[in-house]
């Protein structure tokens, strides 16, 4: 079952006050996400990945095109209850987790806020939070009661993933969610997304520049280049038989463990 449909989505940024300049950030892209599907959106910085995610999350208004979630046009949701419904179902994790926190509040707050969306669940909130933190490999006593600046980038990213684990949304948009987590434990955090998918049917749109990560976790990879989706396929298809020149270059540039770059 398709849960998200993106059609002819375009975003043009207009910069400058007097001499206006247009930047085509996302150029007429269309794709669908099915239930339980793990999709990776791969591309270099500036390719439009984050802009796409922000439009789906209703943080940035598209210039044209439509985004439908479970059949409803995301940008026509106006009433508070509809918006709450959307936020409950679709959750974003951002590249720079520091920006997701209010520096004046302890990190407990971002976790507690999840319960405002879920509503009263009757269970012991504190123990649910502790369990979620353990799931992402954190020691609850080391992070609860702390302020955002006291935590490392990796810890802040893990907390955002823990928040997802509490919320159990239908669709997760994760924008470089493990970029600050060590390679040695990255796989463990990514496994959590896969578990949410297997246990609760959550779909994931995973945004990354790391083709290696995408190769292992996704059902489907979409390669984005200069605002367009230039290639799409299963991880094997994209890695073993890339069609677009950009995909080929990307594959050549990824450092491998058992092969050296040519010329090095």
């Amino acid at each position: 079952m398709v849960i998200l449909e993106v059609e002819n989505l375009t975003k043009i940024y207009v910069v400058g006050l007097l001499r206006k300049k247009e930047i085509l950030a996302v150029n007429n892209i269309s794709f669908r996400v099915s239930e339980k599907e793990f999709i990776s959106l791969v591309g270099e910085s500036g390719s439009g990945k984050t802009t796409t995610a922000r439009m789906i999350l209703r943080l940035l208004k598209p210039t044209s095109g439509s985004i439908r979630f479970q059949g409803r046009d995301v940008w026509s949701l106006k009433k508070m209850e509809d918006l709450k419904w959307y936020w409950r179902q679709v959750h974003g994790i951002f590249q720079d987790p520091f920006a997701s926190y209010n520096p004046l509040y302890r990190i407990d707050r971002v976790l507690n806020q999840v319960f405002n969306l879920i509503g009263d669940i009757g269970a012991d909130r504190e123990s649910l939070i502790r369990e979620a933190l353990k799931e992402v490999g954190l020691r609850p006593d080391e992070v609860l009661g702390r302020y955002p600046h006291e935590l490392s980038g990796g810890q802040r990213q893990r907390i955002m993933v823990a928040r997802c684990y509490l919320l159990k949304p239908r669709l997760i948009l994760a924008d470089e969610p493990v970029s600050m987590i060590d390679a040695s434990t990255r796989a463990g955090v990514l496994n959590l997304f896969s578990r949410l998918r297997d246990e609760y049917g959550t779909s994931v749109i995973f945004i990354t520049h790391d083709l290696g990560l995408a190769y292992y976790v996704s059902d489907r990879i979409m390669i984005m280049y200069r605002g367009e989706i230039v290639e799409e396929g299963s991880p094997e298809e994209v890695m073993e038989n890339p069609q677009h020149p950009y995909t080929r270059k990307l594959r050549e540039d990824v450092p491998l463990l058992y092969r050296k770059w040519s010329g090095f």
Binding site: E44, G137, D210, Y216, K249, L250, K260, F264
Partner: protein, 324 residues
Amino acid sequence: MTLLEAEHVKAYYSIRNSYVKAVDDVSLSVDRGAILGLAGESGCGKSTLVNTLMMNIRPPLRLIDGTIVLDGIKISEMSRSKLKKDVWGILVSIVPQSALNALMPTKKIVDFVKDIFHYHTDMSRAEIVSMVRKRFEELNLSPEILHLYPHELSGGMKQRVVIAISTLLNPKLLIVDEPTSALDVSTQKQVIKLLVDLHRAKIIESMVFVTHDLAILRQIADKIAIMYAGKIVEVASTDDILYTPLHPYTRGLVNAVMTPESEVRKRGITFIAGEPPNLLNPPSGCRFHPRCPYAKPICKEVEPPIIEVRDDRIVACHLVESFM
């Protein structure tokens, strides 16, 4: 022939009445002409170690014990002012982790460079500029960059400019600390290409490359040292580390690498459970024992000695024989 020899180095951060043992009894050498990779998780003391290797130590970090000899000079006994004058930039340079922000935002690159030279040499400003232009050309960097402000450069370009500036005085040893972790793959490759070019052109003699990314080290390092919780746990050639890792931690790191290749896919990916320990109060015995799948009672009680299993290959693990 060794360029840098560090023996039994202990560098601790003193906090109130206790110590964070970030570098605890580390011995390490860098051969002339070699590229040494230093790998480990964040918080294991990699950055502290490389700063200690060049004696870039400031309170609360203190050198508690050990000797460091660089190019025949015992730098562990030199004063900070003497290091500044005779060692840093000339014998050893570091490109720190936050190098992308090292450029002064209100100064053009060229002004920044002039200041550095002014400090170290008595060349005239015009001579400095022509020399730097020449070096930039050698490294395939456009000399026009010199007349730009830092914000006009992309992340990868800034990193390359910082590396080019750090090596202007042809230091024998260049230390780079996570130079590519904030960059996307194609830019990463350009930065590494620049480092390889510097090495091939003999502008630098040896290099220490700090990263947690073993796939990057595969591309350039001759030898890899693995660090865990303030200790070096294994040192071996790049091939030995990747194909026949001996320490369980090294094996854990190698098996967690997610590179898109068939060998890795066949082998499968596992991750190291748990988190690195707090260095204020590290575990007894082998510091890896709480996370080690092979731990035996002895691992909890006795610190493993450093065992030289072969020429040029050392491991600190009680159970090493059972892995060979």
